[in-house]
């Protein structure tokens, strides 16, 4: 039984390894893209290539966790350079995400409300659209 399937399986394996090898070759023999040209000129090439290889996957995964669907997350990541992703990957959980500015402070305690009202008047913050800071 084992001998019977051995031949087709090994043939399949050999074929798949051949395919694998081929795909790697064609992937490497290409025009060097402009982002890499710029990176070489900036002498950042090795550092960033390594960081970005981790970065692209990481950032994509975090985006999916943040509710972006997989296909869209891939597109977002694809449109960013290695350098941009490397920076992003390091601080994905602390990046500011511009959000609002419209809604008032729902659920905040009165104290915070008062503080922000005063700081709005002082021109330190601009949480409430109806408050105009003194000059």
């Amino acid at each position: 039984m084992f001998k019977k399937i051995l031949k087709p399986v090994s043939l399949l394996l050999v074929c798949s390894f051949l395919l694998l090898d081929l795909s790697v070759q064609t992937a490497n023999a290409q025009l060097v893209d402009t982002n890499s040209v710029i990176a070489v000129q900036q002498e950042e090439v090795n550092r960033e290539r390594v960081a970005a290889f981790l970065g692209r996957e990481d950032v994509q995964q975090v985006m999916v966790q943040q509710g972006v669907d997989i296909a869209e997350a891939q597109k977002r990541v694809a449109s960013l350079s290695d350098a941009e992703l490397a920076k992003m990957a390091n601080s994905m959980d602390q990046l500011p995400a511009g959000a609002s500015g419209v809604g008032a402070v729902v659920g905040a305690v009165v104290f915070i409300f008062v503080v922000l009202l005063i700081t709005d008047l002082l021109g330190l913050t601009h949480v409430f659209p109806f408050v105009h800071a003194q000059r």
């Binding site: 040209v37 511009g98 500015g101 913050t125």
Partner: protein
């Protein structure tokens, strides 16, 4: 109550909270005292959708007709209840526009004075209760100490310069230009512009990228990376003659850089010029560098053909 007042007092004297007078925005001497950008449409944002709204205003100004609701799937992250800066950048690229980040008031005023709206990231509140927000700066009046923005639900909102700087410093003065690829920023730096244009390649916007590199070459005629980019984008647009010409220019500028020879070799091969292609590929291998392995692959492939 007393504790509250103490807390407030403390808060006001914390570094970075800047009750210190920031004064009028600093500007370069050649920039006028007042300016207004014409032709920036206003889109009132939906709840949490200031990113798509701000980007839509900038894109429409640059000639791309989109609604904020078209952009929301490209920039908004539901889990964050907001939009990341890099998502705005990527989305602008996907619409064929150069996303060029700037920082600081000098750059901001110079660009606005040159007639370009600037997307800014501000924190409307403090770091302990952040309210991150994107708005679009469309004008300023230095003698009056005012900045004019399209923001949230308000078109042409007037903020005092001091308040604006307090809000803007919390993002380390992050601003973003969304430009047609034939319009260089006022204070543009060669590498920054080329990196921004190379971003268009990543989004598959080759025609816009080609225009961006061609524009770069009008200002920086001897830019190696710009010629390389021109060659790469023309190659992707199936303009083999134009591509070969650009890579050839790059080899003349940096005869000891293998990158240009490697790319030239590929184009020559596709033009059917086998011998010239092999000579170029061999040259790249001889010159070496961090992409030596790629150069070797190119040479091997050409020999097999």
């Amino acid at each position: 109550m007393i504790a509250g007042l103490l807390f407030l007092g403390l808060l006001l004297f914390l570094p970075g909270c800047g009750l210190l007078p920031i004064g009028p925005l600093t500007q370069s001497p050649d920039v006028p005292a007042t300016a207004m950008v014409a032709g920036v449409p206003f889109f009132a944002q939906d709840e949490l959708q200031c990113g798509p709204a701000a980007l839509a205003m900038a894109l429409n100004w640059s000639g791309v007709a989109v609604q904020p609701s078209d952009l929301s799937p490209e920039v908004y992250s539901p889990g964050l209840k907001g939009s990341l800066q890099n998502s705005l950048i990527g989305s602008a690229r996907r619409h064929g526009r150069v996303a060029y980040p700037i920082t600081g008031s000098e750059a901001l005023l110079a660009e606005v004075a040159a007639g370009r709206p600037v997307i800014v990231l501000v924190n409307l509140s403090f770091s302990w209760y952040p309210k991150w927000h994107y708005a679009v700066v469309i004008g300023f009046d230095q003698p009056q100490g005012e900045v004019l923005l399209h923001s949230g639900l308000t078109a042409r909102e007037i903020l005092s310069s001091r308040t604006f700087m307090n809000l803007w410093q919390r993002s380390e003065y992050w601003g973003l230009l969304v430009l047609p690829p034939d319009q260089l920023p006022v204070g543009s730096d060669e590498v920054a512009w080329l990196s921004a244009v190379a971003g268009l390649e990543l989004a598959g916007q080759w025609q816009a990228a080609e225009t961006g590199y061609a524009s770069a070459l009008k200002r920086w005629e001897t830019s190696f990376a710009a010629w390389m980019g021109l060659g790469n984008s023309r190659y992707s647009l199936h303009d083999l003659d134009g591509s070969a010409e650009a890579f050839h220019q790059a080899t003349l500028l940096q005869p000891d850089n293998g990158l240009a020879f490697n790319n030239l070799a590929h184009v020559l091969a596709e033009q059917g010029k086998r011998e010239a292609a092999q000579v170029a590929a061999q040259r790249a291998v001889d010159l070496g560098g961090p992409y030596l392995e790629t150069f070797r692959q190119t040479l091997e492939e050409l020999k097999l053909k």
